[in-house]
């Protein structure tokens, strides 16, 4: 199978969807200059022209409003937030407008908006450029939230997001951008709301959101012979594939959720709530969450690394889960 990087897969998905549907366009800071600071829109300007690839001034509230207003009137914007914490600048437009308009209108409006938010930690950019805010958008009714952790999921989920009629927060992890992986040729769509069993196992379920998938798989390899870990990449947080998570819990009786966002009120807490609510009788151990530290992420690599889940901390959590 051919290989692409995560960012190439994203660009390919946008190429295909823009060619397929005239109403799809890209808007955001620098998206039309050298293909963006993360090279996430390379080639789109040349192919589709400045009408459909709109670089904006640094006016997050205004261009987020443009995305929403254009969706209210029939377009399908792909809104790029260069660094996810920048969306705080446009909070009213995200949380009061984009999230609420469809319901406030009694369902008369559709909001087919894809937000490509570049998130993640570990790139040593400190607190205002390093953050995953999935929990905030999960907590705001009106958004779907996905966090692809592989190249093929990046492509397939982005295409599904662009075709969805609701705002979809598509959270990219910059750490994954430039390493090639296999991606199927041709039309490739990953439906929203389907988890991926990245590694089957029978002793303990580890559910990851985004980048920690890799660390959890590394931990699972190290735990071979001790604990047989089933690694599930949630991929989509809302809608959440509780069937796949639940089936795993019914098999293993143990669940750990791992994410980089602060553990307090994080998506892990919500997944554990759902497990306790729906699969309590199958649990053989108290469900656990390993998240980021409850601090704005510091710069110094030694400090930042200490704030994030790592392979060894995941191993420790799995051992606690298995009473080892």
């Amino acid at each position: 199978m051919r290989k692409l990087t995560y960012i190439e897969a994203i660009i390919e998905a946008m190429h295909e969807e823009m060619a397929r549907d005239e109403s799809v366009y890209v808007i955001g800071e620098d998206v039309d200059i050298c293909g963006g600071v993360w090279k996430g829109t390379v080639g789109l300007l040349e192919k589709f022209g400045p009408k459909r690839v709109r670089g904006t001034p640094i006016s997050e509230a205004a261009f987020t409003g443009i995305a929403t207003g254009s969706a209210m009137t029939g377009l399908r914007p792909i809104l790029e937030i260069m660094s996810m914490p920048f969306c705080y600048v446009a909070m009213d437009q995200f949380l009061n407008q984009m999230a609420k308009l469809a319901t406030m209108s009694g369902g008369q409006l559709k909001l087919p908006i894809t937000i490509r938010a570049q998130a993640g930690a570990g790139t040593r950019e400190a607190a205002q450029h390093s953050q995953s805010q999935e929990a905030m958008f999960l907590h705001t009714p009106g958004f779907k939230v996905v966090m692809p952790a592989t190249v093929s999921d990046a492509k397939g989920l982005l295409k599904a997001a662009i075709r969805d009629d609701h705002p979809v927060m598509f959270i990219e992890d910059r750490n994954l951008y430039y390493e090639p992986e296999e991606v199927p040729e041709g039309e490739w769509i990953v439906p929203l709301g389907q988890a991926d069993v990245a590694r089957p196992g029978k002793d303990a379920t580890v559910v990851t959101l985004g980048f920690p998938r890799r660390k959890a798989l590394a931990a699972a390899r190290k735990l071979e012979g001790t604990v047989d870990v089933e690694e599930i990449d949630a991929r989509s947080l809302h809608p959440l594939d509780m069937d796949t998570i639940g089936a795993s819990v019914m098999k293993t009786g143990r669940i750990l959720v791992v994410h980089e966002a602060p553990v307090r009120c994080g998506a892990g807490a919500e997944i554990v709530r759902r497990v306790v609510d729906e699969y309590f009788d199958y649990l053989d151990a108290e469900p656990r969450v390993l998240g980021g530290a409850n601090v704005p992420l510091p710069f110094s690599p030694v400090l930042e690394d200490a704030c994030l889940p790592q392979v060894d901390t995941i191993i420790n959590e799995v051992k606690k889960l298995a009473y080892l």
Partner: protein
């Protein structure tokens, strides 16, 4: 269809149009302003009687602005309203029965009971919703203008906001982008002199809001917002510019909010000021009647027609079913 007719240049005293087509349009203006006034008075009664709940912001005293703006628009042009938006919807052609049903939280309401007073929607006639956040609709309208340009249509988009919206940063982001991208965008400031209870004199460093346009290189027009024909003429010029691909305009329409900010907030504005603005010569409808020489009997006749429509609207709302909770969750949960 554009409700076009001759009127005076901005800033000059409006003249009386002559042709019969003009008279049709002038009657539409008078009737629209009276409909807004009587609708709001009815809402006030129903609110006091407990038949309408929630936050109600009345448009009384500001009728000339939205009437003049809408007279220059087509049905397929988009407007983005505010928390004080009943008048905007009526002038855009809103259905009084569905509006009244929305205010009573009924399934037949224009937002199916999900929006209430501040979030009425009627996208089929280009009414893209009220907004409970001051300045919230300002960039949304920019998106509709973007959409119009993107599709190669000659539609225009209007953002209404009050003097309170002038203090929001997103307005300046939006004016910059509208100008830079030459978008068919009309920013309409309804300067009613109070942002909730804070007067312009206390909040604004510069009292000339139309001057906010100049740094962006776009027209900024200060208009007597209680002179319907003056608003219409300014709007017509802005709409012509926008349709011709010449970009945005900022209109600063000065008016006065006759009622308190909303139903539950006491009115502690200076009594003298309220008396001056309450007089017939300041009232936009009475000014229009005198200016265009409609006689009082004509007004009474229109009022009687509108009151009948309002009776029907209230009856429709009262008889309408409440929203079905189960259907709400089925349809609206995502």
């Amino acid at each position: 269809m554009t409700r076009a007719f001759a009127a005076s240049a901005v800033g000059e005293k409006s003249e009386t149009p002559q042709s019969s087509t003009d008279m049709t349009q002038l009657r539409w203006m008078l009737r629209t302003m009276l409909t807004i006034r009587l609708f709001e008075q009815r809402v006030k009664q129903l609110y006091r009687a407990g038949a309408i709940v929630g936050a109600i912001h009345l448009y009384i005293g500001q009728e000339a602005i939205t009437t003049g703006i809408s007279a220059a628009l087509r049905d397929d042009d988009c407007v983005f309203s505010t928390h004080r938006g009943h008048g905007h919807l009526i002038a855009k052609g809103g259905n009084l029965q569905r509006m009244m049903a929305e205010l009573m939280g009924k399934a037949t309401g224009c937002s199916r009971g999900c929006g209430g007073s501040m979030h009425m929607f009627d996208p089929a006639i280009g009414f893209m919703g009220g907004n409970g956040i001051v300045g919230g609709g300002v960039p949304l309208a920019l998106g509709a203008a973007f959409s119009a340009q993107y599709r190669g249509t000659d539609l225009v988009a209007v953002a209404y906001f009050g003097d309170g919206g002038m203090y929001q940063g997103v307005l300046h982001e939006s004016l910059n982008l509208a100008a830079k991208w030459t978008l068919p965008y009309i920013a309409v400031c309804e300067n009613n002199r109070y942002a909730a209870t804070t007067p312009v004199a206390k909040a604004a460093a510069s009292r000339d809001f139309s001057a906010y346009a100049a740094p962006h290189g776009i027209p900024g027009v200060r208009v007597d917002g209680n002179d319907c024909l003056a608003v219409y003429e300014a709007a017509r010029q802005a709409v012509d510019r926008a349709r011709a691909g010449q970009g945005p305009t900022l209109l600063d329409c000065e008016t006065y909010r006759v009622e308190p900010h909303c139903g539950i907030i006491p009115d502690d504005r200076p009594k003298g000021e309220r008396e001056v603005w309450g007089k017939a010569e300041a009232d936009p409808i009475e000014r229009f009647r005198r200016q265009l020489q409609f006689n009082e009997e004509q007004v009474r006749q229109i009022q009687a027609e509108v009151e009948r429509e309002l009776d029907e609207a209230v009856e429709f709302a009262r008889q309408s079913p409440l929203p079905d909770v189960r259907v709400f969750f089925e349809e609206r949960a995502i």
